[in-house]
């Protein structure tokens, strides 16, 4: 049984990790926790659905279209709103992202209605790939894990081995110095938001088949992703991945062995305890201001 639990944990954890990565990319670049990420993912997932059903596009094409849409959505959000904030402080940015979340939520309900739809991917949740006595691995499970790993690898390569990644890291560490070196920091920030939105969109596409497609579908993954990011340390990409996996593990183990109902509460409780001991998360450094 424990093997099945671990599989479930990794799957759930991968999705949380994706949301956490999306959150961390933006936080590293701008110190903003982007609460609208869930709804951006949700809207992107609807776009995939429309491209698949109404436009009848093959899956990969629909996915490509969605990613393009998500990138533009994220970029525009930064360009139109975040950049225009006058006296940016944390609370102000949180409110902007919450506001955008409400706008997207209302938009989705308005345009597509709040009834749930079924969303299916080429790899189904019931087709079993691998079965042993102790666990079952479905196509969807495998796909989720592989896709998550692929994204993490892709991001790692992007950040460590491309000029864009270098520019992103530079802008995040010292905006002025980056500008003096010719890096268009505003555009880089927009691109960061765009990339984050793309990662979120993929998370959404993975969530919809096992959950549902409706305007509220990403609320839980967003919160869990955020919690996982905080647990792992918002500015550390490997940290948030581990945070996501840990969260998936804690939830599923607790849910199975102790109580299904309280598993989310326990997850949050554990995060708070961790934060007490390490106020900036497991893998992030905590800086005390020098006077």
């Amino acid at each position: 049984m424990i093997a099945q639990l671990i599989i479930n944990s990794i799957v759930a954890g991968s999705i949380y990790a994706l949301m956490a990565i999306a959150m961390s990319i933006i936080y590293k670049a701008s110190e903003i926790p982007n609460f609208s990420q869930g709804e951006m993912a949700m809207v992107s997932t609807y776009i995939t659905f429309i491209l698949l059903t109404a436009a009848g596009l093959p899956f990969l094409l629909a996915l490509a279209g969605t990613l393009a849409f998500a990138f533009i959505l994220g970029f525009l959000f930064e360009f139109l709103f975040i950049r225009r904030a006058k006296e940016p402080n944390l609370l102000g940015f949180i409110i902007i992202t919450l506001g955008f979340q409400l706008v997207l939520y209302g938009f989705a309900g308005w345009k597509w209605g709040s009834d749930q739809r079924t969303f299916s991917l080429p790899f189904s949740e019931s087709e079993v790939i691998y079965r042993t006595d102790s666990f079952v691995l479905t196509e969807h499970n495998l796909a989720s894990i592989l896709i998550a790993v692929a994204i993490m690898l892709g991001l790692y390569l992007l950040l460590q081995h491309t000029k864009l990644g270098l520019a992103m890291k530079a802008s995040q560490q010292n905006v002025k110095a980056a500008r003096f070196n010719g890096i268009p920091t505003n555009r880089i920030l927009g691109i960061s938001f765009g990339i984050s939105a793309m990662v979120g969109a993929i998370a959404g596409v993975l969530v919809a088949p096992i959950s549902t497609l409706d305007p509220t579908m990403m609320w839980d993954p967003l919160l869990k992703g955020f919690a996982a990011a905080v647990l792992g340390g918002l500015k550390s990409l490997p940290g948030v991945v581990i945070g996501g996996l840990l969260l998936g593990l804690i939830e599923n183990l607790f849910g199975f062995y102790i109580s299904l109902e309280f598993k989310s509460v326990v997850a949050f409780a554990i995060i708070i305890v961790v934060l007490f001991v390490k106020p900036s998360g497991l893998f992030d450094k905590h800086y005390v201001r020098k006077v």
Binding site: I94, I95, I96, G99, L102, G106, G113, L234
Partner: protein, 349 residues
Amino acid sequence: MKLKKQYFEDIKLFKTTAGLVWSIAFILFLFILPFILKTYYLSIINLMALNVIVALGLNILVGNTGQISLGHGGFVAIGAYTAAFLLQLGVPFLVTLLIAGIIAAIIGGLLGIPSLRLEGPYLAIATLGFGLAVMVIIGRMDVFGGRMGMSVPKIDLSWTGLKYDESLYYVFIIITIIMTIFAQNIIKSRIGRAFQAVRDSDIAASVTGINLARYKTLSFAISAFYAGIAGCLWALYLQFVNPGTFSFMMSVLFLATVVLGGLGSVTGSILGGIAMTYLSLQADNIIDFPIIGSIIQSFSETFMNPSGIANIKWVLTGFTLIAVILFEPLGLNGVWLRIKRYWKLWPFY
């Protein structure tokens, strides 16, 4: 221009006679409303009062002490459920009200403990988790009616000689006025100053003798107290409580109310509470607005699913929030201050 003659004038409730006169006029206006308006409109004002009370408390925490809470719905829920429970047992109203507030305050103080170590998004997550945890825990406890919730009995207001709805309205208004005065006094006192010191520089605050732990905890407790009081009244307003009522979305809207109204100002909390209630209730009626209404109507019919028009309130609320941060970070209170300044300098601008 009125010159102050005594230091006491700085802490008096109304600094100018104009302020005093307008406030009394406004209060009298509120008091005669039941004789003019239908009960439906009175209940809208009741909801505004509830939002104002929560905003007053949350503003002290967020605006004055510089903390953050994404879980204030949880405190309102604690107040509401405590009230429902006690009222069903027959505990008198005022006692219930106070107990609801105090229990919320105690739990609020507990939530202050993580705030001693956490900041910014980390604190946000901790409070968010708290809010969720409260709802999940309450929702599972049978003594609170589990998923079905509990009904809230009416309180005995027959001694006023008025209809129940009208008497309840007066109760709400009077309590809101009292809570407003308290909030104003807290902010103007040494406690309020200490809160602002914690917000502006906690290092300097501690070096000047302010016990950070005590004041951060106190700020959480006070804001939770306000939420608890509002919760008790909320239970009476809805006449029913269930776990779904006090959600994460509600906590978000509370925070939005404070920012919309104006951080750190009592006027802001009042304006924010009124505006946010109006937005969430009446936004659907935007179709009836003269020009904008028909534009939105046709937009809705061509591009959208017209039956989902009710969702426009989210869109409008969201854009309002974004607009506030982008254009007037001090919120409605900031707009009001601009108007006053403009007015005062006329015609010399």
